[in-house]
Every structure is written in C-alpha cells, then in structure tokens.
C-alpha cells in the first residue's frame, strides 16, 4: 500500500487540473475521493486486539484489495458509482468531479505494491500490480511491520517522488492559490468553517493533509531506521534493513503478499491509459454537468428557500 503518497497526490491532482477546471473543482471532493477507499477497507486490515485476541481480516491483502473482500473500494468502478450517487444527491459538479479524480488517483497509485488493485473490476477480478514494493500488512506484523517494510523499500522512493511533484508545483500550497483557486470552488463550505476558524486556521486546514504526509513520512522513517529493534533471521538489529530492490524488502516473514494478477509489464501503460480516459471523460462531461447544475429542478413551490437552484 501507499502511505504519504496518498496525502501528497491530492495536491498534485489539484495543481494539475485541466485548464477549464482550474479554480472550479472542489478540493474537499478530491480529499474525500482519495480518502474513501481506505476509509471503507483499511480498518479491518490491521484489525484490533481486545484482551489479547485479534479481531480483523484473516487474509489482510484479500480483504483490502481482493474479491471477495473490500477490494472493490479501490477500483475506478466504485469511484464511478459513488460519484454518480453524489451527483444525483447534490448536483454539485465541483464536488463530483473532485471526488472522482481523488478516488481514481488512489486506486491507480496503489497498483505499485505487490498486491495492486482490481483496476478493471467488475470485468475481471484479477489484480493489477507493478510489484514495485512488498505489501506487508500481515496478521502478526500489523501496522508496524507494514510501515517498516514500506519505509525500507521503494515505497519510500514513491513517497519522495510525490513530495517532489508537489514541491515542483509549490504555488498550490500558497495563501494566494488557496484564496483564488481553492476557496471559490467550495465557497459555501469555507464560509461556514470561517465562522469558527480564523483565516490562518483555514489555510492550515487546506495545507493540513500535506503537513500530515510530511510528518508521517518522517516519523515512520525514523521508526523504521532508528527506533525499532527487530529480530531478523535470529539477529537483533537496530532499525530494519533498507532494501531498494524490486518488490523489496526481502525480510518480510512469509515474503511479499500478492493475489492473482495480470502481467506486471502491462500495468503501467494500462494505468496511465485509464487515468487519461478518466480525465478525458470528465473533461467531456464538464460542460453538460455545469448546464445541468444551473438548471433549476421543477420545484412545487419556486419561492421555497430550500430550492437547490436558489
């Protein structure tokens, strides 16, 4: 799985919106979309321990990304279904498009680990995985082993890659950008929050996911490199060994987890093609959605304050 990459990719999506969508796509939508897959699927992956007994998925990788399980939450299909429901409920183009972009970014980023995601669900339940690093959420190791493996492998490089992508678009984090591009797309929500929080707090809220990503990257890297004392092959070490080989690290008990998958060589082009199709489709839908958003729905009482067109 990806760790801080999911926090950074929000800002990368926000910074690289198609020209006609700039300043019009909801950042909260992107956030919710990116957050949704793990919100639905991840709580049971590590499980909880009560009185020494663990309650959680018996095969974490299958629950998280496979079928049957909650793997469908990490698919573009799931994003389309939720985005459609969101559109029918709110008729809000900014929120719907943002949500779809966020969930697509999450599903596509997660093809990098050894389990991957079911990119073409429901047409096939095969996983699409580049196997760049090992998926290491095991029953016995839990979150700690998962974090240590991720930050001792090419997963760390992935996080740093996304961090650099955001830093290269550093303007996306400035106050001016927030004022002119982010707030207008969610004006009502920011105004509501503004009743309780001063401007510096609102700006911090916008930057908070980036902040969390950076802190998470540093904290777990420190744990993996400095503050842990694992016993590997009978030898007690200070810090987990770094392994930047493909599908590393080598030291995960039982090896890297995986599920039945397609040939890894076709995954990157397929994922990029899918991303391009999603952007193309959303760009095509952008104007029709805008027209539908502005059209008043036939109300029984046009003067009612609850009229969504009002």
């Amino acid at each position: 799985m990806s760790w801080a990459a999911h926090q950074f990719e929000l800002y990368a999506v926000q910074a690289h919106l198609p020209k006609k969508m700039k300043g019009k796509v909801s950042f909260f939508g992107i956030f919710l979309g990116d957050f949704a897959p793990d919100f639905f699927a991840k709580f049971w992956v590590y499980g909880i321990t009560i009185n020494g007994k663990r309650y959680g998925a018996s095969i974490p990788e299958k629950w998280h990304r496979g079928f049957p399980g909650m793997g469908f939450t990490h698919t573009v299909f799931f994003g389309i279904v939720l985005a459609l429901l969101l559109w029918l409920w709110k008729r809000n183009r900014a929120l719907t498009v943002g949500f779809m972009l966020g969930i697509a970014a999450h599903a596509i980023t997660d093809v990098n680990d050894s389990v991957g995601t079911m990119l073409l669900f429901p047409f096939t339940t095969l996983n699409w995985s580049m196997q760049t690093w090992a998926y290491a959420a095991t029953k016995s190791g839990g979150k700690y082993l998962d974090a240590a493996a991720y930050y001792s492998s090419l997963g760390l490089v992935m996080d740093l890659f996304w961090l650099v992508v955001v830093l290269m678009s550093w303007k996306v984090l400035t106050r001016e950008y927030w004022r002119t591009q982010v707030v207008p797309a969610d004006a009502r929500l920011w105004a509501r929050l503004g009743k309780w929080i001063p401007e510096r707090g609102l700006l911090a809220l916008y930057r908070a996911t980036f902040f969390y990503g950076v802190c998470r990257l540093i904290a777990w890297s420190l744990y993996a490199r400095v503050f842990s004392h694992p016993v590997i092959n009978g030898v007690k070490r200070r810090g987990f060994p770094m392994d930047l080989s493909w599908t590393g690290p080598w030291w995960i008990p039982g090896g890297a987890r995986s599920l039945p998958n397609v040939n890894p060589w076709i995954v990157l082009p397929a994922a990029l093609a899918l991303l391009a199709v999603i952007y193309w489709a959303l760009a095509r839908l952008w104007e029709p959605m805008g027209r539908r958003e502005r059209r008043p729905s036939a109300p029984d009482n046009p003067s009612s304050p609850s009229n969504p067109a009002g």
């Binding site: 707030v183 929050l193 001063p198 401007e199 902040f211 998470r216 540093i218 420190l222």
Partner: protein, 78 residues
C-alpha cells in the same frame, strides 16, 4: 475568501482577516508550522496512535490557531 468582499473588514486593515484575527507574517507562519511538525513528530515517536488522518491535520490547525493567540495574550499581559 470565505466572506464576500463587501463585508470583509480586512479591506481597511490588511493585518487582520475577515474575523478580525491577526494575520501571520511569512516568518511567523513558518515558525508555527515548524513547531507543529516537530512537536507532532516527537510525540508520535512515543505514541504512534496519533499518526492518523484526524489527529495530524487537527494538530496543525490547533497549533496555528491557538499558538499565536496564546503568545499575543501573554505579550499583552507582560
């Protein structure tokens, strides 16, 4: 901005926001973000349970909102 311009009190005072709260300079902003990051990472090394989607963002917002307000209050008293 969250409020329309015609009700924005900051138009007369650029150092204040739409609520009348003080705006931070770039240096002050960097300081408080750094305080938030160092304290969050330090505490999280002891208590990893706080490394999550809820506490992380709230930590930053709390430090940036309450930190300067607290310092201002102490300075006024002094």
């Amino acid at each position: 901005m969250p409020e329309p311009d015609h009700v924005d009190p900051t138009r007369s005072d650029p150092t204040r926001d739409f609520r009348g709260s003080r705006r931070l300079s770039k240096r002050e902003t960097a300081f408080w973000y750094l305080v938030a990051a160092v304290s969050y990472i330090a505490v999280s090394l002891v208590q990893k349970g706080i490394l999550n989607w809820v506490v992380g963002p709230l930590w930053l917002v709390a430090v940036v909102v309450f930190g300067p307000a607290l310092v201002d209050r102490v300075r006024r008293r002094a």
